[in-house]
Amino acid sequence: MNAPLPGPLADNPSLDRWVSFPSPGKVGIFTGRVELGQGVLTAMEQIAADELDVAMARIVLRSGDTELTPNEGYTAGSQSIQFGGVAMRQACADVRALFLNQAAKIIGCAPDELSVRDGAILRKNAATGQDYWTLAGAVNLAVQATGSGPRKPIADMTVIGGSSERLDLPDKIFGNAIFIHDMRLPGMVHARVVRQPNRGATIDAVDEKAILRAAKTPVQFVRHGSFLAILGDDETAVDLAATAAVDHVGWQNVEAPTAAQQEANWLLQRPAVDRIFGAPDEGNPQGRQRFEATYTRGYLAHASISPSCGLAEYRDGHLTVWTHCQGVYPLRAALAKTLGLEASAITVHHVQGSGCYGHNGADDAATDAAIIAMRMPGRPVRVRWRREEEFVYEPKTPAMIVKVRALVDDAGKPVDWTQEIWSPTHNNRPGAGGNLLGALALPNPPPEPPPNDVPESNGGGATRNGEPLYDIAAKRIVHHLVAETPVRTSALRGLGAMPNVFALECGIDELAERVGKDPVAYRLSIIADKRARAVIEKVAAMARWDAKAPGGAGHGRGIAFARYKNRAAYSAVVVELDVAEEIRLAHVWCATDAGLVINPDGAINQIEGGIIQSASWVLKEQVRFDNGVSSIDWETYPVLKFSEVPEIDIELINTKDEVPLGVGEVTAGPTAAAIGNAVSHALGARIRDLPLTRERIMAALLKE
């Protein structure tokens, strides 16, 4: 019996959805995953090249296209390689086996006498005159995958495990038109949307004259309900008009988030959907020490370097959309609903944007373009959000409160752990019932989706990494899914993992401190998982961890660990830093076990990106509200600068395991907690609220 097919292959079982041989010497590869700056397309080509035994240069890869590629849902959750890559690997192995069977028939030998070298079929290493392309006519790939094609043993891999250069980087370094922002279609019109401030707000008055005056060159208005767009041939004019429109369009029923709503504590006492799961009750506290601490984090922005962009054209009853979103099929389904079209009347193509790190404004910008394009058939429409628009209207990652409660035995080890979490949803993706922003301004807007978060079967949203991996007899999660939010919230790199790991890994340090144990030794004393131990031991060695390092004088070091989602990659991080009025990161070390690594340099690049982004969240970032979102640009929402980035050492271990584990989000939590622990070591005082601002540092010092 064959093992079950990898998920995406089971969902798209026809092999011709994955591989084709379009012309002599060329191999077509189709992936539903999309490039978000994480290097996934390069990794996919490596996988295909190795399993098919062809040179990478022969491969023509297509990705994220409802006309061409398999439906793999979203490119998210560090699942592209762990699931999509594994599916690609098996599809290629199945295809290779079909070709070897056909070649064996023609040659009159057993298939296992044959091998492939760069597409040519060899028998006992000698040429047979056959190759993929001579056989392509006789091998039908419109058949179901069986999963029976033998995958190449890891030890024989030549491309997988090598650091192939990123295929997309040269275009970016030489300044070629590669981004969606660079697309120009014949007859295209530039457009900006005058954003509805909130669901239910309606347009009161539009001072068209004032807007036209600001534009300096002619622009047009398109209005549908309270959806108002400004278009024109000259992008500068459209930009000027859109900026002016903020002050020259009046709205009714405006609700603006208030300063009080900015803080995580506002979430307490809100209507919520409550769940408790895990171990039944808090074991007998008799004779046990109790530990309880509450950690918080504010709202964060994805803050992609480029505002979102989308293009659309409606012609002869068919809508074509270009987008940098993470899921072309879910967007197509949501657009069909919004626009009253059949999904078959819509094509969605992925084109690269800047890094998104989750659900940013990409789907919404594409929707804006589609709504406008439907009202001007035959005319391609390009919408590019303004910087302020992206900051104000992109979905934010929610503020969270995480309270950890532990019962501790005589040796100071936790025996019972409760992680109580307050959070709005981490999933307002269109594919999960979330609404497209532009749709809310149309006549008959869709209803508010019911409160809902990513299910635990998919790693959880607010509950992600809420359960410690440590050996604790009883663990449970209390989850309050807060139904009312001041702003739209959705997925950002790691979802709830960052606040949860921050809370539980700071909590573990606090427990170690109570019994005077070294944080590394303490962790090792409560975890048996070999891979977890290995990354903790490795990073301690890399950082020359000194259990006796004195803290308290403004210099400190901290460690933290997590296995992302408790089922993807393992990572341990050590941070060394100095605290004066502000925190200055000196050095970061990270050991990661991501199992089979397709492209080590690419994996390290992503791990490092995750460390720096998490450091930026922890040290600097919080979306501010003041009668509206007041974080509107890079001055009001600063991120880590070049001069603030520490040196970082990363090592990958166990890279030849059979199974690859997703790596893109693994460092978000451990980095945050290691910083928190290092600050506590440096100050001799703990700060449990993020970001670690100067005010909080001063307050912590005063308490001392």
Binding site: R166, K172, I173, D234, I305, S643
Partner: protein, 161 residues
């Protein structure tokens, strides 16, 4: 009423007619001249995606009205090098695989070029200080710092810049 603006881009004289003399140089490069390498990131002179050299000085082109460019010399990322003849900075960025989404890179390479023109042997801290005019949201900073240092060394060793 349209006006004519003449200046030099990547060594070639150009002339554009525009109805609004305040049109940012960035929009002129991208929409009038089809040079897409200079990217839009904020339009607020905060992120550095749109960095170009104007008479050799690094400038954020989103904040430069076209009237202020008349008669000047502009260098964009396209003018630095090509895959066939990469500038040492571009080669070093490829060697170091310095990029994730890569949206920030064109502006960063230009800022780095201006730095190396003035200071051929910058320290890590000096490179970082110069690049504080640019934002990278993906966290590629360290690779970028290494790439700039490597390019500097190569230029010092005689690679064509």
């Amino acid at each position: 009423m349209t006006q004519e603006f003449k200046f030099t881009v990547n060594g070639k004289p150009v002339s554009v007619s525009l109805g609004n003399e305040e049109t940012p140089l960035l929009n002129v490069l991208r929409n009038e001249l089809g040079l897409m390498g200079t990217r839009f990131g904020c339009g607020l002179e905060q992120c550095g995606c749109c960095m170009v050299l104007i008479d050799g000085e690094p400038e954020k082109s989103c904040g430069k009205p076209v009237w202020s460019i008349a008669g000047k010399t502009v260098t964009t990322i396209e003018g630095l090098g090509s895959p066939e003849r990469p500038h040492p900075l571009q080669q070093a960025f490829i060697d170091e695989q310095a990029g994730q989404c890569g949206y920030c890179l064109a502006g960063i390479v230009i800022t780095a070029k201006a730095l190396l023109d003035k200071n051929p042997s910058p320290t890590r801290a000096q490179i970082a200080a110069a690049l504080d005019s640019n934002i990278c949201r993906c966290g590629t900073h360290n690779r970028i710092l290494r790439a700039v240092a490597k390019a500097a060394a190569q230029i010092r060793a005689g690679a064509g810049a």
